[in-house]
């Protein structure tokens, strides 16, 4: 599974980073989110599915 953040939708709310810092981080240049681990490790898959609903802009999507 891969996690993808749409850079046009992400506005840097940082909820993904606050909730799952193992998988997401904020860019040091613009405070927008990016994915740290690709593919998403199996042990984080469930949390990754959960985090999609925490994004205020719905910018995160998961692909198989």
């Amino acid at each position: 599974m891969r996690a993808v953040i749409d850079p046009l939708l992400c506005q840097g709310h940082a909820q993904c980073v606050l909730n799952l810092p193992e998988l997401f981080a904020l860019d040091d240049n613009d405070s927008h989110g990016y994915v740290l681990l690709d593919p998403v490790p199996h042990e984080l898959a469930e949390q990754a599915r959960w985090i999609v609903g925490s994004c205020p802009e719905r910018a995160i999507s998961l692909t198989d």
């Binding site: 840097g12 909820q15 609903g53």
Partner: protein, 397 residues
């Protein structure tokens, strides 16, 4: 040409509901979020539902201004709040790096030291008025540090933002005239400051950054820097003051919740997010629609000025379970207290840091406190929600 005077309208559609309560406005905001087509009697369209808000703000025809009206009574477009599209992106590209979590983290010891000095002033008294003694001065001092200006100029900035955020006057015209007057004084002050700073060696603060940074190969003009600073003053001074006052008032009245967070500091960051959602200190913003659009099955005609109510979206029961309950372990806290869409708060990471450090340090020094017996915290919601009277008592020694 005659100009008719216009009385100042209610600040938010929620204010016009029977359920409105200055102290606990969340119920009225939730009612607004639950309406299928929220609007005002004068026809102003309101966006209050969480999902509709998200869709509305991502639409390219939804703009921060109509090119004529500027936010907060500014004489010229505020940068970047009053810009859209490529011009907006250009300035955000410049400003975003100055407010990343890593960049603002360097301020943590400064914030802690400033907080400590303020607490020193009242720690032995057993009582304090927290808005004036702590919440109001702290963000201003940090802002002055950030810009690289002398601390003795702080009262000037506080007066300016107060005049802009809560304009004096009983008519719209009177308010606008008063805002223009303070705006002109701020403009002159900043131009003078920039002149002085250009003659000095470069310094590593925000003004130093503005003077050396280049956008598309060109330096910022004085006017651009003034317009950026004008917005930063308003955005940086008032919002954190108000947010901090709401949070301290909330904790003052809930000792068991307070003790729980302070005994497990890992809860502090999620508690701040949840209280940002619940209190939504900046209740609303305005957007303009440039062409006829349909969002969530609703028509927004070209030229509409739309009231977008973050505070309502944050208590929308379709998205937040038990929205009127404060739950530090709330799953999916996709709140929009820092707004949403392209104009989402530039300084949110600085605000979060200030709130976290200020609350942490305050509770280290004064872990037990309550609203002074016989008195109560009083709130205003016009402009930005704040606990404007926050008298507390606490044991000393």
């Amino acid at each position: 040409m005659t100009t008719e005077s216009t009385t100042v309208p209610a600040f938010c559609a929620a204010h016009l509901l029977d359920s409105w309560d200055e102290r606990n406005p969340q119920r009225a905001f939730a009612e607004l979020a639950g309406q299928s087509v929220p609007s005002r009697q004068d026809g102003t369209l309101v966006v209050a539902g969480r999902e509709e808000l998200r869709e509305f703000l991502r639409h390219p025809a939804v703009r921060a201004t109509d090119g004529v009206h500027h936010n907060l009574g500014a004489p010229r477009p505020l940068i970047p709040l009053d810009l859209d599209g490529d011009a907006h992106r250009k300035y955000r590209k410049l400003l975003d790096p100055l407010f990343t979590p890593k960049r603002v983290a360097a301020l943590e010891p400064v914030i802690r030291a400033r907080a400590n000095t303020l607490i020193d002033e009242f720690a032995d008294n057993g009582e304090a008025e927290l808005l004036s003694a702590f919440c109001a001065p702290l963000p201003g001092q940090i802002f002055i540090d950030l810009l690289g200006l002398p601390l003795e100029d702080l009262p000037f900035f506080v007066d300016f933002k107060e005049a802009v955020v809560r304009p004096q006057g009983t008519t719209v015209e009177e308010q606008q005239a008063n805002m223009r007057a303070v705006g002109d004084r701020m403009h002159d002050y900043l131009v003078r400051t920039l002149d002085e700073r250009r003659r000095e060696p470069a310094r590593d603060d925000l003004i130093g950054g503005f003077l050396t940074v280049e956008v598309d190969g060109e330096r910022l003009t004085d006017t651009e820097i003034v317009d950026i600073c004008y917005l930063l003053v308003i955005a940086g001074l008032d919002t954190v003051t108000c947010s901090l006052s709401c949070m301290l008032a909330w904790f003052a009245e809930r000792p068991s919740e307070r003790r729980r967070v302070m005994s497990d500091r890992a809860l502090l960051a999620p508690a701040i997010e949840e209280l940002m959602r619940f209190e939504s200190p900046v209740p609303l913003g305005h957007r303009w629609v440039t062409e006829d659009i349909e969002v969530a099955g609703r028509l927004f005609p070209a030229g509409s000025k739309v009231e977008v109510v973050w505070a309502a979206a944050n208590v929308d029961q379709d998205v937040f379970a038990d929205p009127l309950v404060v739950d530090f372990e709330r799953p999916h806290n996709a709140h929009v207290a820092f707004a949403a869409g392209p104009h989402r708060c530039l300084g949110s990471n600085l605000a979060r840091l200030e709130l976290r450090v200020a609350l942490d340090q305050f509770h280290r020094r004064i872990p037990e406190y309550e609203i002074a017996p016989g008195r109560e915290a009083t709130y205003i919601n016009y402009g930005v929600r704040a606990a404007v009277h926050l008298p507390i008592t606490f044991p000393v020694g």
